[in-house]
């Protein structure tokens, strides 16, 4: 039974206007569906801005009409950089079709006081703390907040995040409650795959496989290197959500809530144990490498947005080189990363080689979902697994994807061809 306090009652009864009423009504319905007993305060929200479809605007407008957000609210990237579309060789009619939608969305953000971060990484602006409750949408951000920072968020959608942004509340259910955060199954990374040498794509592959076998049971990973980075955890989280209903993971010794295996499991026994070895790793690569032709039309890095260390690596690989004439190389970054990269001369190196370092916008996933054919893209290479999990699957295989590490991707941009898979079955 969900009990509301006076203020929440008032919001639900329209005392703060119709938009807040809609927001509270949504939170109450979700809370009732999941057995919440009360509302709790959340201190941050993160929204989605990438989809170019009208529906995103409709949903956003519904919750932001004539109100201001009550808590710091960040937003993920926009679909495309309108100022650079010409030099990026994006057909003019696509840009003209998207321009009004992007303008009205950014205007809406401005009016409502949404922070125009347009980044996959809201934590660049606000560090997250252990136990802090937030309302984040996006499949990279939510698992990272839960598993790396020990903050608490459900894997909400746009409407959930917006309703929390304008009320500062969320129903206390799901991953807000400790009892739903314990690990339930154990995944042991076998020494045969050499986890100390894992690439970004290997972490994505591991998370994806975990999503498939765990389905809805929170995994506890053992056998990963102790100095795993937030980026690597982020790739695992993306994989988990693309394959399963898993907004949380425990990495013993890394996740703040799990200094030991006993802590991670909540002092219970695991329901099941799995081993991730060579066979499993190869299976994921086989599944996510959907391209048939070896000729690559596009290389897309930074989905989710590249942190500075990846931009450095890309610049090192491209230094003094030139990418193949007909290949598009797009690299997505957030504002802090972009400005740092610009200052370090990395943007110039990458762009002199023929690539584009993008800021505030998606690395290309959003555009490819709708306009791959107009961009002349039949095969795209990437190092995260969003393109395999989303673009290839949603375009029903019309866009083939190569999934590998950054070196393989940059090599494909330079030669125009994907050269061999790292993991053959």
């Amino acid at each position: 039974m969900l009990t509301l306090n006076q203020e929440e009652e008032k919001a639900l009864n329209g005392g703060y206007g119709s938009t807040i009423q809609k927001a509270m009504d949504h939170l109450v319905k979700v809370g009732e569906a999941l057995g919440a007993r009360r509302m709790v305060k959340v201190s941050r929200a993160h929204l989605l801005s990438m989809e170019v479809a009208d529906i995103l605007y409709e949903l956003t407008y519904r919750m932001l009409e004539k109100v201001q957000v009550r808590i710091p609210t960040t937003t993920n990237p926009l679909a495309v950089d309108l100022n650079r579309a010409g030099e990026m060789n994006i057909p003019r009619d696509i840009i003209e079709a998207m321009q009004p939608g992007i303008h009205r969305l950014t205007q809406l953000h401005k009016n409502a006081g949404v922070l125009p971060t347009y980044s996959c990484h809201p934590h660049y602006l606000h560090e997250l703390a252990l136990g802090q409750r937030v309302a984040f949408t996006e499949f990279n951000v939510a698992p990272l907040a839960n598993s790396w920072f020990g903050a608490r968020t459900n894997l909400g959608g746009q409407t959930d995040a917006l309703a929390s942004a304008v009320t500062g509340k969320a129903p206390e259910c799901g991953l807000y409650l400790m009892e739903n955060r314990w690990g339930e199954v154990v995944i042991e990374i076998s020494g045969e795959v050499e986890p100390d040498k894992f690439d970004s794509s290997d972490y994505g592959a591991l998370g994806y496989w975990a999503g498939q076998v765990c389905v809805d049971r929170i995994p506890v990973y053992v056998g990963l290197k102790k100095d795993i980075s937030s980026r690597q955890v982020e790739y695992m989280g993306v994989g988990q959500v693309l394959a399963g209903s898993l907004g949380m993971m425990h990495i013993v010794g890394v996740t703040p809530e799990s200094p030991t295996m006993e802590d991670a499991l909540g002092r219970g026994e695991p329901e099941e144990k799995f081993v991730f070895g060579k066979k499993e790793l190869a299976k994921v690569y086989a599944e996510l490498n959907t391209a048939k032709k070896t000729k690559v039309d596009m290389v897309c890095l930074g989905c989710p947005h590249c942190p500075i260390e990846e931009v450095i690596k890309i610049a090192q690989l491209l230094y003094g080189k030139r990418i193949e004439k007909n290949v598009r190389l797009w690299i997505g970054t957030s504002q802090p990363t972009y400005f740092l990269a610009k200052q370090m001369g990395l943007v110039d190196i990458i762009e002199a080689a023929g690539g584009f370092v993008l800021c505030n916008v998606c690395a290309g996933t959003g555009l490819l979902l709708r306009f791959a054919d107009r961009l002349g893209v039949q095969v795209v290479a990437n190092n995260g697994l969003t393109l395999s999990g989303l673009v290839s699957r949603r375009t029903r295989g019309k866009v083939g994807v190569y999934f590998g590490n950054i070196e393989q991707c940059i090599n494909a941009a330079i030669t125009g061809y994907w050269e061999g898979k790292k993991h053959e079955i």
Binding site: L34, E138, F139, G157, D216, T386, L390
Partner: protein
């Protein structure tokens, strides 16, 4: 054969139809809004039509666009009648069911979920919180 199972309600409503069962996490984006067909290459349910079916899957998965995936299907006239999930529910799919106003229930453990088979006629009562499964050609 006929049996009832108690469920938790994610979105209210009453509906009935023939079951379409998938045994793995499922994203709405696997359904083509233009015709209601699952048309992802190499999908185990490739060619299946979800229109007017009672969709049964353990839980959802996928990107944030799952939020309105079901709503798009409903607007296009190619939506399932109701949805049954397993033990837990993919958070974003609750909003999906709300926006599309499609009855959705969950709270069935693996064993219960496995009792449901393709083609079973299912009544989903997401007001009272139960489902009724009817299977033709089998004794009571």
């Amino acid at each position: 054969m006929k049996f009832s199972l108690k469920v938790q309600v994610a979105h209210k409503g009453v509906a009935e139809g023939s079951a379409l069962v998938y045994r793995k996490p499922f994203p709405f984006s696997d359904i083509n809004p233009e015709n209601g067909l699952i048309d992802v290459p190499e999908h185990e349910l490739k060619g299946a039509n979800i229109c007017d079916k009672v969709l049964v899957y353990p839980c959802g998965c996928g990107a944030s666009t799952e939020d309105w995936g079901l709503y798009i299907l409903k607007k296009a006239g190619h939506a399932p009648k109701a949805i049954i999930n397993g033990r837990r529910i993919f958070y974003i799919h609750i909003t999906g069911a709300m926006l599309a106003d499609i009855p959705m229930v969950y709270g069935l453990d693996q064993n219960c979920l496995n009792l449901i088979r393709d083609g079973d006629h299912i009544k989903v009562d997401a007001e009272k919180g139960f489902i009724e499964v009817n299977r033709k050609g089998q004794p009571e």
